[in-house]
């Protein structure tokens, strides 16, 4: 049974859950419905939550499962964009040439630019960046949410960040052209 304490603590994560719901659905109405669904499911299953568990990470798991169930009901299948072979990816650090101008740029880049670049990422990349860099989940917690090995999280995150850098570079290039 959900206790008032559970409800109170769970509600402190509503912005984070809404952000993740927007990442998954890309639609405000669908995201709001998904948030409500998550809380209702979470409250029903609150007694399955171990005392030492991270409530926020657990709610993300509940949300993702609820979203997948919705998609199955709609018979549409998950709306993921196909990615390259993740397991064979070597999460090597990007070359220095692509990094240094980026670093300089990122000092100046506005929040909206990063948000736009995040919006442009394929869902699978976007959700791993959101879970790690925005919501601060560990690799293991992300692996639980995504139901995949932690190694996949690591490689997907490296790819996602690389893609984000590329998008930000492209945006910077366009901004410079406009300025000229």
């Amino acid at each position: 049974m959900p206790t008032p304490a559970f409800n109170e603590e769970a509600l402190t994560h509503i912005d984070a859950l809404f952000g993740y719901a927007m990442t998954l659905t890309r639609d405000r109405t669908e995201a709001e419905d998904l948030v409500q669904e998550t809380y209702v499911r979470g409250a029903r299953a609150a007694n399955q939550l171990a005392a030492e568990s991270n409530l926020k990470a657990w709610l993300f798991v509940v949300m993702r499962n609820a979203w997948l169930n919705q998609l199955r009901r709609q018979n549409n299948g998950p709306r993921f964009v196909g990615l390259e072979d993740e397991e064979s990816f070597d999460p090597a650090f990007p070359s220095e040439e692509s990094t240094n101008p980026q670093v300089v740029y990122l000092r100046k880049v506005e929040r909206t630019q990063i948000l736009l670049a995040l919006e442009s990422l394929p869902t699978q990349y976007r959700e791993v960046v959101v879970l790690r860099d925005i919501e601060g989940l560990s690799y293991q917690q992300i692996a639980s949410v995504l139901d995949c090995p932690a190694g996949t999280v690591m490689s997907r995150l490296a790819r996602a960040r690389e893609k984000l850098r590329t998008l930000l570079n492209a945006r910077e290039g366009r901004t410079r052209l406009k300025a000229v």
Binding site: V40, T99, I114
Partner: protein, 284 residues
């Protein structure tokens, strides 16, 4: 000592606090010795700080917070009710005494209550009355606002586990619309969602709550047969509540209209030919 390639391959792990113990010590030792890797680590950290600075990505609206808060309160209430039989079984003797104590004020109140229709109201009828009251008090805002039956029917698709088809207005030429649809929302009931539709007739609110007959069965109150259906009429907190089941769905219609509130039936049965459907619901 790790080489630079190894360090760069593990930089994300280090910056994400995924390196622990000796691995972390070894990594930091390399950074102290190697300016190139240190510069790269600093640059990557700044990149991540830039990305992380956008948090929060989105902020939930006050309406969503209210909606979720209400759903959680309702969930707690329902779960408490649902778990009661298990507790009763476990501690039968104590529970029996406790139930008697708990029921005593209600029994006294019921004995004083002169409205026989309020006795034995089903949990679905009680929920519908409570939903109606909370909606008119502004505690249960509509999740979609529309006066179009088709839009409301469509809104429920994939939100509830049954099909909701709200009849269109059946306007007679030259006559004013007898009622207006206001919109809809979901309401939690028995670990599922029920469909809630709000109407107004002569500025008086009418609520229609629909769920599957697997979830809610009608019972209690005054039984009235009309057109092959069995209606249950209850007066609950001054409200007129009609419940019935038909073709796999269970309905509750709540209003404070006169008599048994049978006029509220026009939200689905406005056609003059269907008035004989409503007539048996009037008190004799």
């Amino acid at each position: 000592m790790s080489d630079c390639t190894d360090i760069r391959n593990r930089l994300n792990l280090y910056l994400d606090n995924e390196l622990q113990g000796d691995e972390r010590v070894d990594f930091e030792s390399h950074l102290r010795e190697c300016n190139s890797c240190k510069a790269m680590a600093n640059a990557e950290q700044r990149f991540l700080d830039g990305v992380r600075a956008v948090e929060p990505l989105y902020v939930a609206s006050p309406e969503l917070k209210q909606r979720v808060s209400t759903a959680l309160r309702f969930q707690s209430h329902n779960t408490t009710n649902a778990s009661r039989p298990k507790n009763t079984r476990a501690v039968a003797t104590i529970a029996a005494a406790a139930v008697l104590l708990l029921l005593l004020p209600i029994l006294i109140w019921r004995a004083r209550e002169r409205d026989p229709q309020s006795l034995g109201a089903s949990s679905f009828a009680l929920m519908a009355a409570d939903t109606h009251l909370r909606h008119i008090r502004g505690q249960l805002p509509l999740e979609m606002v529309s006066t179009e039956p088709r839009d409301v029917s469509q809104w429920f698709v994939n939100k509830v586990s049954f099909s909701v088809k709200i009849p269109n207005y059946q306007e007679a030429p030259g006559l004013e619309k007898l009622y207006t649809m206001e919109g809809a929302r979901l309401v939690a009931y028995k670990n599922d969602y029920a469909a809630y539709v709000a109407y107004r007739m002569n500025n008086q609110p009418i609520s229609l709550v629909i769920t599957s007959d697997n979830v809610a069965q009608t019972s209690g109150g005054e039984e009235i047969k009309a057109k092959g259906l069995l209606f249950h009429y209850n007066a609950i907190e001054g409200l007129k509540v009609l419940t019935w089941s038909d073709r796999g769905l269970t309905y509750a219609l709540v209003s404070d209209l006169e008599e048994r509130g049978q006029k509220s039936c026009v939200v689905c049965h406005q056609d003059i030919k269907e008035q004989d459907f409503i007539a048996p619901l009037k008190p004799r």
